[in-house]
Amino acid sequence: MNNKTLYSVSGLFNTPNEIIHASEETVNAGYKKFDVHSPYPLHGMNQAMNLKPSKLGFITLIFGLSGAAFALAFMWWVNVIEYPLVIGGKPLFQLPAFIPVTFEVTVLSAAIFTVVGMLFVMFKFPNNSHPLHDTDYMKKVSADKYGLTIQSIDLQFDENKVTSFLKSLGASEVFSIHYDGEELRTDNKIFNPKFILFLIVTAAVVSGATYFTLNKLLFMSPFNWMVEQDRVNPQSKNEFFADGFGMREPVEGAISRGFTPYKFKGQPENAARYLINSLPMTEINLKIGKEKFEIFCSPCHGNFGKGDSRLKGQFPNPPTLHSEKVRTWSDGAIFHVITDGQNVMPSHAQQISIEERWAVVNYIRVLQSAVNAKESDLK
């Protein structure tokens, strides 16, 4: 008994009137650290204990207003700043439409913070290690008795005096309530390393398990977000065709709109005879010709068509374009070589369009005249 530290002396009363009277007396007797316990709120008790009116309302006010402000500001930011979208031809910021959400957010934040503030800040709940717990006193006051407790930390506290004082007020029973060991511990359980370790381990296990189950054990996509499209995209594989090519070759002999097949396949002399270069030697054409020449021809033929390859002998060097032969060729002949290829030179028809081919021909002509420039050219 004595080795325990005393928390308080508490007395039980049977009727509301008694307890009201008792608390008034206690106040008059100058006790500060006392409390009244009753199974339900008693009217007039605040006056009897002369408590100041509750300040809870301010919390509500502050958080309510800030909730409203946040909601409005957020919606404005989203609709006007972050991602402006024209919705139903209405202006971006539509106050009337935002009111419902604002109201709800206000109520939500106000309600939550009021309760949280009261329970966890003002009452310092949860607290199940209060000395009053598990006492007969508490059992009774939570059922049908009314109790008055004067704490030992009160300045004018004296166990015997208080006991008799309570008795004098007509307490049916008087208890002395002591702390037990558990309740005296001061260190904060939250920072207990064991507890922290426990948290970490749980976190690790849970996340690991989740990842494993979702990604390995049962990897399923309830809805594939239309990633797999039942259509054949360009350059995609298609199992339907034996060769697996989604892209098909056009049928031989069929002519698509705006395309004229090359008539002189494998007949260079006809090409040389019948093909006429209709492309004028304008600056813009030469520009195109130069561009294409340097992309497609220069790697082998060299920048000036001198047949000096840039491929460091990884590929047989072609003959120069400045040979007498080539210079005397008709434009058609050169065009034919580009289109149809020659010896090891493949056809460039698929990379270079017809106009571009003629442009290249023109450019080659320029190169030829440039490389074998005569005095007359400079004038």
Partner: protein, 1027 residues
């Protein structure tokens, strides 16, 4: 290596002189070494200086690699498979277009096939084709689905003893067949080749060759729906078979006697174009006037200014009465008709006829008046099911009215159609029975289905060898010994000619996707004994080079000519058209035949979407609502309201129809405007052997066809009886009783349909604006400066053919949902044709209205979407983000036009156990359009993929995107040019002009959603003021 900016410039800028060019030596130096020094050295991180760029990159990539390996369960995005050798004409991601020919019906329209990376994905009309001018019917468009039909035959099959089919390869099949054919030649038995009417000169030559090689081969060609009567009549009148080409666009008055010339009769696409040409609101005085006197409510009837109900068996009497009225009472000149005819005419009187059939006398007076007033500018068209006599009378009428002025003098129709009469087909069956036939080749024909009464099924057993050439199995091929799979027309070569002077070429746009051959090349193989996949290509080419090209006497060489022809898909030559000599009717014996009267007649007509049944397995066509009844996935017996009362019939009651001891039972449907005592049934349904889609859809009414005559008779006396059975016909649009005051004419009251008459318009051009309220919005408007998309639909031109619907389906990957889902009201068509009746049940006035997303400025759907999945684009489109959509369906509820469509199920999976989710359907889908999945809302996008493509091109060419750069799929397809699309902010665009037009209106203006689709009020060209 650093280079001075000046040098930089000297290279990039174009060189001025040769000297200057050669100065830029350092650049040359650079270029000489493709790879900078060190580039080719071994790469080693350790050797790199601390935090050099490459080291950093190296580490970065290393770490990236680690991360990637760490999370390995990302979905595989597939691999890139480029062309090994890219064809010159193809640019990846860009479409190619091929001109070709659609030979699915007697029109042989020119088509333009859109391909992507060598795969056809859409069919449109060939703009260069003089007849169909870039338009094509919805059957032609839907053929692309047949090409990719999962149930196409993939290889030759041979019937085993247990009558199951086993796979064979071509070589052995060919060998066996040739041998058999030789046998029957030696055994002097007939080789019958049953083909459809052949319009191809080259194929003609091929047939001749076939007959040469196999002397006792006989070619039978037939069409289920032929113009035989018309032709015979013409022959009797003019002594030749060249039916004229009529320039409808020059006709002021068109009288159609049971002729559905806007849907099935003649060259439909051209008819529609020319007919609607004269319905241009800019010249209201030139409006033509259409009188329709018909038995059933046909698509043409829906568009009539005056429509009278008359059972086809009275048409002859009517025609005679009209003639007598014109000739005897109104004294029109008659040359070429002898007195006997005139005396015959005396028996008839129009007045009596009008009384007898309780016609509205005003209409008839108007008709007669108009005909007389517009001689030379009026034409009378007769339906194919009319008797030969009636057609003769019509020829006389046209002659009397001087209609020959409307006949095109440049070209006339080719007359292939009388090669075989149905007597010959009968004969063939008998011969088969007698065992005189050694071999039958069904050349892509299905007579077993077409002529059930002819009993091919049994007689075929007595034939030595029967060979079915077909794309997918059908009733006939089931009975054959050999079934040879043939190419779809998109895989085939060919040349076709339906008019003198116009030859249309067919070229393949994809090489056969299965082990199939085109039917001509199969015959060719049997002739030559060896196959080569280019054989028919070569055959045509040579025929052209040897026979056709020389006759043209062109300057260019043949190759260029051939390429050019293929490129255009059409060759027009000036042939000297056979002279139409004067009309001459000698004897009155023509008029002797009496039509035996009967209380009930059954009228078998060509299927609107099913034709003669060859499209049965095409889900698109099955699901496109019938233009008149809006019924899908079925045919039905249309009966008049009066008949229905008489027999206590309701919709969906199954009735039994009996015509000379042939019986069928069909669900009946009460059709407003149907004439009493007439039951009309569409053919082409009730296929028993075809793909899953078309199997047992509807009833096969071919059983009733009568073959006693030399051309099959589709109009027969019949008796009907009600059965206790019920059937479930499904319509895409709820029917409302016309007599129920509660729902009557709501479409007019609510100004959904606004109509007037030409008179009304001329008197008061603003007549529809009268009751317009000005609506205002409480918020300030969103500005759309610059390009803003809009559409205008001219209801004067729209005839309701639903060509736009199939174009939309094929462009936008719209799934087939099936009958049950349509019944639940879940069809997915982004565009629909709304059909409204007003007036009385017997004489309804019909209005059509294409309805699609209106892309409202104040789109109500957008406000209510909780996730902003639908919102507005800067160019005025109401757009859908499929992946953002969660599927609350709130937008659809809040859409006043109910044009939004929701994927209630994954329809590709649910329809027929995923019929359209199997290969190769994926090839069909437009790669530019998302394939929507379950739970997603969708709707018309104004073909945004086309808009984006056009914008891309505009950007490439460095210019502003213009309204005219984009044509929506429906606009391209519309044969009557009723749809205009473009920039409403551009004051010169057609759209903006129509938007401002006094006849332009928006549907449901009063709710102020500001639609961007303008409708042009329909003007009916009646004599009266009100509709």
């Amino acid at each position: 290596m650093s280079k001075k900016p000046s040098e930089q410039n000297s290279v990039n800028s174009h060189w001025k002189s040769i000297g200057e060019y050669q100065d830029s030596s350092s650049i040359v130096e650079i270029k000489q070494n493709e790879f900078i020094n060190g580039a080719t050295d071994e790469f080693d991180v350790s050797e790199l200086p601390i935090l050099s760029r490459r080291k950093f990159l190296a580490l970065l990539s290393a770490s990236a690699a680690v991360t990637v390996t760490a999370c390995t369960d990302y979905r595989d995005k597939g691999e890139i498979v480029p062309y090994t050798n890219k064809p010159e004409e193809i640019t990846i991601g860009k479409a190619n277009y091929y001109a070709s020919t659609c030979n699915l019906c007697k029109q042989n329209c020119g088509i333009l096939v859109k391909t992507r990376e060598g795969r056809p994905i859409k069919i449109d009309g060939n703009p260069d084709h003089p007849v169909n001018k870039g338009k094509i019917c919805n059957k032609g468009q839907a053929n692309i689905l047949n090409l990719y039909d999962p149930e196409r035959l993939r290889h030759p099959i041979e019937k085993a003893t247990n009558s199951s089919f086993i796979e064979k390869n071509w070589e052995e099949v060919d060998k066996k067949i040739i041998e058999k054919l030789k046998q029957s030649v030696s055994a002097n038995k007939e080789i019958a080749l049953v083909a459809h009417t052949n319009y191809s000169p080259s194929a003609k030559k091929l047939f001749d060759g076939f007959v040469k090689v196999f002397p006792n081969a006989k070619i039978y060609t037939y069409e289920l729906f032929s113009e035989a009567n018309k032709l015979l009549a013409w022959q009797k009148c003019y002594g030749n078979l060249n039916l004229p080409v009529i320039r409808l666009n020059e006709a002021k008055i068109i009288l159609s006697l049971d002729s559905d010339f806007l849907a099935t009769d003649g060259s439909v696409i051209e008819n529609i174009r020319q007919f609607t040409q004269q319905r241009d609101i800019d010249s209201p005085n030139d409006f033509n006037r259409l009188y329709v006197i018909e038995g059933r409510m046909s698509l043409t009837g829906m568009n009539a200014d005056y429509r009278l109900r008359l059972r086809p068996d009275f048409q002859f009497e009517f025609a005679m009465s009209l003639l007598s009225e014109l000739v005897l009472n109104r004294g029109l000149r008659t040359n070429g008709i002898d007195s006997s005819v005139l005396s015959e005419l005396k028996k008839y009187s129009l007045i009596d006829f009008v009384k007898k059939h309780s016609f509205d006398p005003n209409s008839i007076n108007n008709l007669v008046g108009d005909l007389i007033a517009n001689q030379g500018k009026s034409i009378i068209l007769g339906g194919n099911s009319l008797s030969e006599q009636t057609h003769i009378v019509l020829n006389i009428l046209n002659d009397v009215l001087g209609s020959s002025k409307l006949y095109d003098e440049k070209s006339s129709q080719m007359s292939f159609q009388l090669e075989t009469s149905s007597n010959d087909i009968n004969g063939l069956v008998q011969k088969m029975g007698k065992g005189e036939v050694g071999a039958v080749i069904f050349y892509d024909t299905n007579p077993t289905y077409h002529f059930p009464s002819l009993d091919f099924a049994n007689q075929l057993k007595k034939v030595g060898i029967s060979i079915g050439l077909t794309e997918s199995k059908n009733e006939t091929s089931e009975l054959c010994h050999y079934v040879l799979p043939i190419n779809n027309l998109l895989e085939s070569w060919g040349d076709y000619q339906t008019r003198s002077g116009i030859i249309s070429l067919q070229q393949p746009v994809i090489s056969p996707i299965y082990k199939t051959r085109q039917k001509e090349s199969i015959l060719l193989t049997w002739l030559t004994g060896s196959f080569d996949e280019k054989n028919y290509h070569e055959f045509i080419r040579q025929r052209w080079e040897k026979e056709f090209y020389p006759s043209l006497k062109l300057l260019s060489d043949f190759t260029s000519f051939w390429y050019a022809s293929l490129h255009d898909g059409i060759v027009t030559v000036t042939e000297n058209k056979p002279q139409t000599n004067k009309l001459s009717i000698s004897s009155d014996s023509l008029f002797t035949r009496e039509v035996k009267q009967n209380n009930f007649y059954v009228h078998l007509v060509e299927g609107q979407n099913s034709s003669d049944g060859r499209f049965a397995n095409n889900g698109w066509l099955q699901e496109i609502p019938h233009p008149v009844s809006k019924i899908v996935w079925d045919n039905y017996a249309a009966v008049s309201p009066k008949t229905a009362k008489e027999f206590k019939l309701e919709d969906n009651d199954v009735i039994e129809i009996e015509s000379d001891d042939k019986k069928i039972s069909v669900p009946c449907f009460i059709q407003a405007g149907q004439s009493d005592g007439l039951i009309s049934i569409e053919l082409g349904y009730g296929r028993t052997v075809c793909g899953e889609v078309g199997k047992n859809v509807g009833v096969n009414a071919n059983a009733l066809i009568n073959f006693s005559d030399n051309s099959p008779i589709f109009y027969l006396p019949a008796s009907i009886s009600k059965t206790s059975r019920k059937y479930n016909l499904v319509t895409a649009q709820e029917h409302h009783a016309l007599d129920d005051e509660f729902v009557k004419d709501i479409h007019r009251k609510r100004k959904i349909i606004q109509e007037g008459t030409v008179q009304q318009y001329l008197n008061d051009p603003k007549f529809i604006q009268k009751e317009k309220h000005d609506v205002f919005s409480i918020t300030n408007e969103v500005e759309y400066n610059g390009l803003k998309w809009g559409m205008a639909i001219d209801l004067n031109k729209c005839i309701g053919c639903s060509g736009c619907v199939s174009a939309c389906i094929s462009e936008n990957n719209i799934p087939v949902v099936g009958k049950e889902q349509v019944e639940k009201g879940r069809e997915m068509h982004w565009m629909r044709i709304d059909r409204y009746y007003s007036g009385t049940l017997d004489e309804p006035i019909v209005s059509n209205q294409p309805m699609l997303c209106q892309h409202c400025d104040h789109a109500p759907c957008e406000n209510v979407c909780p996730v902003a999945a639908t919102n507005h684009s800067p160019d005025g489109l109401n757009q859908m983000a499929y992946n953002r959509c969660v599927g609350t369906r709130y937008c659809s509820n809040n859409c006043p036009y109910k044009v939004r469509r929701f994927n209630f199920l994954d329809f590709r999976e649910t329809f027929e156990e995923g019929y359209y989710s199997q290969q190769p359907i994926s090839l069909l889908n437009n790669p530019e359009v998302t394939v929507r999945s379950r739970g997603v809302m969708e709707k018309c996008t104004f073909c945004i993929q086309r808009i984006m493509e056009a914008r891309q091109i505009a950007v490439e060419e460095g210019r502003e995107l213009k309204g005219i750069d984009v044509m929506t799929a429906c606009q391209v397809a519309c044969p009557s040019l009723a749809i205009e699309f473009g920039d409403v902010n551009d004051p010169n665009s057609i759209v903006s002009m129509l938007r401002k037009h006094e006849l332009g209106y928006h549907v449901l203006e009063e709710i102020n959603v500001r639609p961007n689709v303008t409708y042009i009020a329909k003007l009916r060209n009646t004599h009266s003021e009100e509709v």
